[in-house]
């Protein structure tokens, strides 16, 4: 049969990578136990440990978080000075990891050398913002990438449910002044994201530009420094993750009972649209965003 693409120009598919959400988010920290306690308060359970390194896999519902005690915050950053955890990577589920990786390199992504990755299983990665990495994972349906590198924690459930019904909503990225167009093109071209219209926002922190993944299941929010500030902190970073919650206020009550503290000020407070946790461990925050179940 003749391939239609041989006869008629169809253009590139809107989802060139076959994206299917976030496989995991990785934190790097010199204080893995402290971050682990915070994650457990949020409902995560330590389900597995790395065979040879100080890396722990936390899970709740559909979300995986890798806590890597070997990574560090970028040199010279405030996070480094305080030993604060940083988001070191996120992994995208794609149709074909090798193809996604090569496609990104062809368009101007930086390859990450294999030896700096915590996984012994080869997972291709490109450089993201600051010193962070973006992994491409394609073996997420038939078996788990964690089976190779990780040993289950005895007695822990393999697939703990999320007490508050949380799932990945997205990541917030702080960017430098006037850098919104640069990063928009970066995510559009390399990963197939698209910018939402300026009026379309989620949660209680509706700043900046929101990019939607081609699979439609999660978002990246780009935030520049506040205007009018003379001494601007122009550093860029992955600032926080956001969880989607079917009922934000119910989730806030539940998590508060587990010891999570939320911002409750006049200007910024929990409501049906969203909530923000108070900074812990010198700057780690989490956001809740209302999403219909």
């Amino acid at each position: 049969m003749t391939d239609i693409g041989d006869r008629e120009s169809l253009g590139e598919l809107p989802d060139p990578l076959g994206l299917a959400g976030i496989e995991f988010v990785e934190y790097a920290t010199a204080r893995p136990q402290a971050l682990g306690r915070l994650l457990e308060a949020l409902g995560f359970v330590a389900v597995a440990r790395h065979r040879s390194r100080e890396v722990t896999l936390y899970r709740q519902g559909p979300m995986n978080v890798v806590v890597n005690a070997h990574g560090r915050a970028p040199a010279g950053s405030p996070e480094e000075a305080h030993d604060a955890p940083v988001i070191a990577a996120f992994a995208l589920r794609v149709r074909d990891a090798a193809a996604a990786y090569q496609r990104a390199l062809d368009r101007g992504a930086w390859a990450v050398p294999v030896q700096v990755q915590p996984m012994e299983l080869h997972i291709p990665a490109i450089h993201g913002v600051a010193s962070s990495r973006i992994y491409f994972v394609d073996r997420w349906q038939e078996f788990s990438i964690y089976d190779v590198d990780f040993v289950p924690v005895p007695g822990a459930p393999r697939h703990p449910e999320s007490p508050a019904g949380l799932r990945w909503f997205g990541l917030v990225q702080y960017i430098g002044n006037d850098r919104t167009p640069d990063w928009t093109d970066f995510y559009e071209e390399l990963l197939g994201f698209r910018a939402l219209p300026d009026g379309q926002r989620f949660g209680i922190l509706p700043k900046g530009r929101v990019l939607q993944s081609p699979c439609g299941t999660f978002y990246l929010q780009l935030i520049e420094p506040e205007p009018g500030i003379l001494e601007v902190d122009d550093r860029e970073s992955l600032a926080r993750v956001a969880f989607g919650a079917p009922d934000v206020l119910k989730a806030v009550d539940l998590l508060r009972a587990r010891g999570v503290e939320f911002f409750e000020a006049e200007k910024l407070h929990s409501d049906v649209q969203g909530a923000l946790t108070k900074p812990a461990l010198h700057g780690v925050t989490f956001e809740l965003v209302r999403v219909p179940r």
């Binding site: 368009r107 101007g108 930086w110 093109d185 003379l230 860029e236």
Partner: protein, 299 residues
């Protein structure tokens, strides 16, 4: 601010390119600073050539207190294929990393002179777009300059067409008065440009005429002089005023490749650079008061 006896000069947005001076990098930086400049365009070769190594060069740049206008220069990047392209991507990555380490927010890229290059506009635009994409995570802008002896792109309107075709926010154009004057590019062509996409303007005059590509190459690499010292001062002044009129508010860099200056004491040459900057700022652009954007506040 600049300090010292030269603080009265109103030329904070004028910098000097270190290729204009002779001698080791720390002496060049000190001379630029002493002449009242607050910024300097650096050359990658000088950073890696430093007698005590690259780290010492970077330390000298930081210690100078000068703002880094940008880093030059990536050559013959666009239009290559296969192993040649892969090799140039490696070179580009090394230069971008050097930019980040040197605090340079801009990388200068010159139009290709390579006989191997495919000079189709779509190919060149695709490659420059990829280069700019590489620069995004490092926060570097890429400024593409049409060399007047470039193979296919040898005047700024052509370079502009490639930049427009590439359509990448951190990719813009670099202008050089030498190339525009030598190639007799009509001054009205400046009106075609979007001033926000002009990332750098380099300024130099020269003696005589340079009609052929070979003559331009010789004059451009050996016989430039500072603006106000050459034979095209009036044309150069009009050119600068036109750029101001279309809304250009970025950096101006004095880039003077001159064999005589490379065997003169650096302080003398820096003083000539200073006189040129004062002429441009006060006589050509007729500034008398401090620059309105000297205090940088976001709108």
């Amino acid at each position: 601010m600049t300090g010292g006896a030269h603080a009265e000069g109103n030329f904070a947005d004028f910098g000097v390119d270190t290729v204009s001076f002779a001698g080791p990098l720390p002496g060049k930086l000190a001379a630029a600073r002493a002449a009242g400049f607050t910024q300097a365009m650096l050359s990658a070769r000088e950073l890696v050539d430093h007698a005590q190594g690259q780290e010492a060069a970077l330390q000298a740049v930081r210690a100078s207190g000068l703002r880094v206008t940008g880093l030059q220069v990536l050559r013959d990047f666009e239009g290559l294929s296969g192993p040649r392209h892969a090799y140039k991507v490696d070179v580009a990555q090394a230069m971008l990393e050097l930019c980040a380490r040197a605090g340079a927010k801009l990388l200068l890229v010159c139009s290709t002179t390579s006989p191997e290059a495919d000079t189709g506009i779509e190919t060149m635009a695709r490659d420059l777009r990829k280069l700019a994409m590489l620069a995004v995570p490092l926060g570097v802008k890429v400024a593409y300059e049409g060399l007047s002896w470039g193979r296919a792109i040898n005047e700024f309107p052509q370079a502009w067409d490639v930049v427009v075709e590439a359509d990448m926010p951190n990719l813009g154009i670099a202008l050089d008065s030498f190339h525009a004057l030598a190639a007799h590019t009509p001054i009205d062509d400046l009106d075609l440009l979007d001033p926000d996409k002009v990332f750098l303007v380099q300024l130099a005059d020269f003696m005589g005429e340079a009609r052929s590509g070979e003559e331009r190459l010789a004059a451009g690499c050996h016989f430039r002089v500072f603006p106000g010292e050459g034979m095209h001062g009036d044309a150069l002044a009009e050119w600068v005023k036109r750029l101001r009129a279309i809304g250009y508010r970025g950096d101006w860099s004095l880039e003077v490749f001159n064999d005589d200056y490379r065997q003169m004491p650096v302080t003398l040459v820096a003083e000539r650079a200073r006189r040129s900057a004062v002429w441009l700022g006060e006589t050509v652009l007729q500034r008398a008061v401090p620059l309105p954007h000297a205090m940088r506040r976001r709108p």
